[in-house]
């Protein structure tokens, strides 16, 4: 077959990208090897050569990865749709600010983001890690090699590939007839970024989370380095700020995910125990456990082994999380897993390799890791910190076990295809039930352990102080818990206990800052984090346990259902207030901008007398797909108070509003019947309906055309020069109520358009169609034109109208004749007035086009006048014009189309939830991260 010479393709990103991926992969392996030998030969003369090779290779690797990222950004910014990646994630309409979001929307991009952060962290370590540079960067380079292998895109056989190359052309990945066209590139268009991801959270959440993931590699690499070199104590000091950094950043990344879910998605909460959320949380939990044993090891010499294990575990859990999210194994059980890429085996290998590396090194060195002969004292800080770390590990194990259920199912199914697979029926309740106890223990431990001392050698001397501070904290926490019970429902005793534990750690740590640290906030990082934890717990109880649907309508009768299925939504008709839970709520209007349709919903809080106490508006939105045909998601809108949030989102829209394709179908299904009206003569419209008893009944509505309007208006109609438009004013009388409708129709060039009117109370849809336009045009053929010759300033009288020739316009508006190249057009301007009152100006045009001439018509609807400029005599400067006035009685009959059973679509179904105390959750969790950051800076200073 002959090779097609394609035109319009830009091929250098593919060439550069392919080369850079391969080169980056090879250089990462080289960096691993060189740093490996540098570590092995440390202290020997050849050490520095190996290290320098390692550095060079790592730098080359970094540049290669940047080149790959650059190539992808180029094809995305330039919208090179011949590339599969660009075709998939960008479109012409996509604003530049979403280019980065589009970049990391897909697996390949997020792998690159991960590697990017490793390169940044690796470069910092190269500068600062000194003796630890060779082993730490050897590990980091090896991790990079594994990640980059995911992008290799090498096919071993037709089915088996290593990695998936992000810089493939569309014609590389599929074979469709389109590629028989040499100029196919000019035909392509992009899919565009998933509209759900088009918000600023998608710009900030992934980079933060991936920096968090990448940063767990550093304590991991230090732990490996410690085991490798056998310097079990020395690595602890340089690694500590990195571990704290990782804890702060990973935690922030997870929180951002929660904030995104809460603010922009309609999950109705910040945490759903979704597998993907769980598996980003678990490494953070083990990392925090590691930080605690790390501190114990630094202060006392205990817990070396557990510190190693926690850091090894954190990174391996990051890999496991990567496997779960990217392999498709979670399938239907998660909302935000990536699409499958066929790299399951490679991901398992990645995870397995580092599991084996960490595990075997640990076993090999196990005997040599220092551990004091004497065990920790029962009354010492280190003992209880260790217990706390075990509790955290326990939490991580439970979450991981439940989250891994789909994996277990897959494994069992591999051996027994008939196996049905287990599922957790109520995931949120399941996780909450167990994590509650973790919260209780952590609350107690983080509070009481602050009053204990490391390496307690004089418990007798400390016991009084310990008892005193613990007693103060306990009693204050009890009081605060009781006070809280007046604000929110605490429910069962477990929640009372948990609330107490939350307050206990808050009070105990505040006491610790004041009594022990003497208000020195620079060293109070741990206290900040623990206070944050306590506040977070109280925030969770307040907002989670006490969240309340206010969008329930008690008037609707409950059917046979059990109480657990409460009504959660209300229906709001446009501009019709609805009462719910002490509020009067009104859906006021909506506007569409791009693919976002924003609804304005007004809330009025009423007191017992029905007076308005407070009024505000929220703006929930519907997100349409990139072609604006269909709703893909609903964005909530939240009214925030210090003490609570009112969270509002649209549960559903009428089908016609949510899906314009469906709307068209429904519109086509309507049966319009034409009624021929005479002006001011009523007709009776009959509609057969079913009564409540199921009997057919005939409803009669009286309708009348009150007037015909030659200058109609409609909100959606934008008049243009040259339009022929007509509207009718109709009145419908049903019993004693009168409804008015003003449908209109217009003709623009060859196209006509109609603006129908929906009458919700009658379920009628009223429209004018082309029939009335034809009538108008027929009437025109009957027009009697008279010829007039005008000179500048001439004035004539026609049927009581004054027509004055006002002047010549050599640059007339092109609406009436569609300007073409080479046109010469002149318009004569006529001012028309009646009894001194100006009715308007008509500008008939004389047009010379391609040697011939045209005389398009001008019309002045206000005076019902029609003009043709038929001749211009340059010698005498006279203009010959044909003028006719239409008759007003052309509408002997007025055809109006009416469809019955056209139901209203101007409503929304709304869900509104109150989250009390949610700000405690945000403030608390943020304080936890701030505490970690404060500790990090302190430890960094300590290093210098």
């Amino acid at each position: 077959m002959e090779e097609i010479q394609y035109i319009g393709e830009v091929l250098w990103p593919r060439e550069l990208g392919h080369f850079a991926i391969l080169f980056g992969f090879v250089s990462s392996l080289l960096a691993t090897a060189a740093y490996f030998f540098a570590t092995q030969r440390r202290g020997l003369p050849e050490f520095s050569s190996w290290r320098n090779i390692g550095r060079g290779a790592f730098i080359l690797h970094g540049l290669s990865v940047l080149a790959v990222i650059g190539s992808i950004l180029f094809i995305l910014i330039e919208k090179r749709y011949e590339y599969a990646y660009a075709q998939k994630v960008v479109s012409d309409a996509l604003p530049f600010k979403y280019i980065f979001s589009a970049f990391w929307q897909e697996q390949e991009g997020s792998f690159l983001l991960w590697m990017f952060w490793h390169i940044v962290l690796g470069s910092i370590l190269m500068k600062t890690a000194r003796n630890w540079e060779p082993p730490v960067l050897a590990v980091l380079s090896l991790i990079q090699a594994f990640i980059l292998s995911m992008l290799l895109g090498i096919y071993i056989s037709a089915e088996t590939k290593i990695g998936s190359n992000p810089l493939l052309l569309l014609r590389d990945v599929m074979d469709i007839p389109l590629f028989n066209n040499a100029d196919y590139v000019s035909l392509l268009s992009g899919n565009g970024l998933n509209p759900l991801l088009q918000n600023y959270w998608m710009t900030i959440h992934p980079p933060t989370l991936f920096l968090g993931f990448a940063s767990t590699s550093v304590p991991f690499a230090f732990a490996i380095a410690g085991l490798w070199t056998g310097q079990h104590k020395e690595w602890l000091k340089p690694a500590l700020p990195w571990a704290l950094f990782s804890g702060a950043i990973l935690g922030t990344g997870i929180l951002m995910g929660g904030a995104w879910a809460y603010e922009a998605l309609s999950f109705g909460g910040y945490w759903a125990w979704d597998p993907v959320e769980n598996m980003s949380l678990v490494p953070w939990i083990t990392l925090v456990a590691g930080i605690h044993t790390h501190l114990v090891a630094r202060s006392t010499g205990y817990s070396y082994k557990s510190t190693y294990l926690f850091y090894l575990l954190s990174f391996i859990l990051v890999l496991y999380s990567t496997f779960l999210t990217r392999s498709g194994v979670l399938g239907e059980s998660s909302v935000h897993a990536f699409t499958e890429m066929g790299l399951e085996a490679q991901l398992i290998l990645f995870m397995g390799a580092f599991f084996l590396l960490g595990g075997s090194l640990f076993l090999w060195r196990n005997k040599g890791i220092p551990a004091p002969q004497q065990e920790e004292d029962f009354a010492s800080k280190e003992f209880w910190m260790f217990i706390g770390s075990l509790v955290l590990l326990f939490s991580a194990v439970i979450i991981t076990a439940s989250t891994s259920l789909p994996v277990v199912n897959k494994i069992v199914q591999a051996f027994n295809p008939d196996f049905q697979g287990y599922v957790i029926h109520d995931a949120v309740a399941h996780y909450n039930k167990y994590q509650l106890w973790i919260g209780v223990f952590i609350g107690l431990l983080t509070g009481a352990a602050q009053f204990l001392r490391y390496k307690e050698f004089n418990w007798q001397g400390n016991v009084r102080s310990f008892v005193k501070h613990t007693a103060i904290s306990t009693s204050l926490a009890v009081l605060l818990t009781i006070a809280t019970s007046f604000w929110i429902q605490l429910g069962g005793w477990q929640f009372w206990l948990l609330t107490f534990c939350g307050f206990f750690t808050v009070v105990a740590n505040a006491d610790y800052v004041v009594s022990f640290l003497k208000n020195n906030l620079k060293v109070a990082g741990s206290a900040f984090s623990h206070i944050g934890f306590g506040l977070m717990i109280i925030g969770i109880i307040a907002s989670g346990l006490n969240k309340q649907h206010i969008s329930s309508n008690p008037m609707v009768q409950r059917s046979l259902l059990d109480e657990s299925m409460l009504e959660k939504n209300v229906l709001l008709f446009k501009n019709t207030p609805m009462y719910m839970s002490g509020y009067r709520v009104t859906y006021e209007n909506d506007t569409i901008e791009g693919n976002l349709r924003t609804f304005v919903v007004n809330y009025q809080k009423l007191d017992d007398q029905g007076n308005v106490q407070e009024e505000f508006s929220v703006k929930p939105a519907a997100v349409y797909d990139n072609k604006v045909t269909k709703v893909v998601a609903y964005n909530p809108s939240t009214k925030r108070y210090l003490g609570k949030d009112i969270f509002t989102h649209i549960a559903t829209l009428p089908e016609k509003e949510a899906d314009f394709e469906k709307a068209r179908e429904r519109e086509e299904e309507l049966v319009y019947q034409t009624y021929y009206f005479k002006l001011n003569e009523p007709l009776v419209i009959r509609d057969t309906v079913e009564t409540a008893a199921g009997q057919p009944a005939i409803l009669e509505t009286e309708a009348v055309v009150k007037s015909i309007n030659r200058n109609p208006s409609n909100l959606d109609y934008q008049p243009e020069e040259g339009d022929l438009a007509i509207g009718a004013t109709l009145e419908f009388r049903k019993k004693d109520t009168v409804f008015q409708a003003e449908p209109m129709v217009y003709l623009r060039g060859q196209l006509w358009g109609s603006f129908p009117v929906q009458l919700n109370d009658l379920s009628f849809k009223v429209r004018l169609n082309d029939e009335i336009l034809v009538k108008m045009m027929e009437a025109e053929t009957k027009l009697e034109y008279k010829k007039f010759t005008f000179k500048q300033g001439d004035e004539i009288n026609l049927n009581g109208l004054t027509i004055r020739f006002a002047g010549v316009n050599k640059n007339p508006p092109a609406a009436s004749f569609k300007k073409q190249e080479g046109d010469v057009a002149v318009a004569a301007q006529f001012d028309v007035s009646k009894e001194g009152e100006k009715l308007g100006t008509a500008e008939p045009v004389f047009l010379i086009r391609q040697g011939g001439f045209l005389t398009p018509k001008a019309e002045l609807p206000a005076a019902n006048l029609h003009f043709y400029l038929t001749k211009i005599n340059p010698d005498t400067e006279t203009f010959e014009v044909q003028i006719a006035q239409g008759k007003t009685d052309v509408f002997d009959t007025i055809p109006v189309q009416i469809a019955k059973q056209s139901y209203r679509t101007d409503y929304i179904v709304l869900e509104a939830i109150v989250f009390p105390g949610i700000n405690l959750f945000w403030a608390g969790s943020l304080l936890m991260m701030i505490g970690l950051a404060v500790s990090m800076f302190r430890r960094m200073k300590a290093k210098a």
């Binding site: 599922v423 029926h425 046979l560 559903t652 179904v909």
Partner: protein, 132 residues
């Protein structure tokens, strides 16, 4: 014996107790027959019957939506969901409903939809005729 070992033993014991207890939170995907006989809340895995009526009229009741599901054993039942109709419902094929039987109907508190992966034909890639 070291205190740490005591703690470890206690924790492992608690873990075993919890995991045994947690098995109550789990179930296999059931079918309508199991739901009817057990009377408990279960998850039923099945296919959406697209030829049968799906009824949702929010102006009547925004929290009432019914459809039919055929379970893995081929039994077809009307399902009542006391919530708004989920987005893209018609497109889904595989469906998991959580709830219990009430008479002949299955009262669902939750549905989980599995949409077929988008069929990509050539027109997906080509500019649409009108507009930019």
């Amino acid at each position: 014996m070291k205190k740490i070992y005591i703690v470890a033993v206690v924790m492992i014991a608690v873990a075993i107790a919890l995991l045994t207890n947690a098995s109550k939170d789990m179930s296999t995907y059931a079918n309508f027959e199991v739901a009817r006989e057990s009377g408990r809340a279960v998850k039923v895995n099945g296919l959406l019957s697209k030829d049968k009526e799906m009824y949702y009229n929010p102006s009547e009741n925004p929290n009432y939506f019914t459809f039919y599901v055929k379970d893995t054993k081929g039994e077809e039942r009307k399902v009542v969901l006391k919530a708004a109709k989920p987005q893209d419902f018609e497109k889904s094929e595989q469906i998991v409903v959580t709830g219990k039987m009430a008479g002949d109907e299955f009262i669902a508190s939750d549905v989980l939809l599995k949409c077929p992966s988008k069929y990509k034909d050539e027109e997906v890639y080509i500019k649409s005729g009108k507009g930019t």
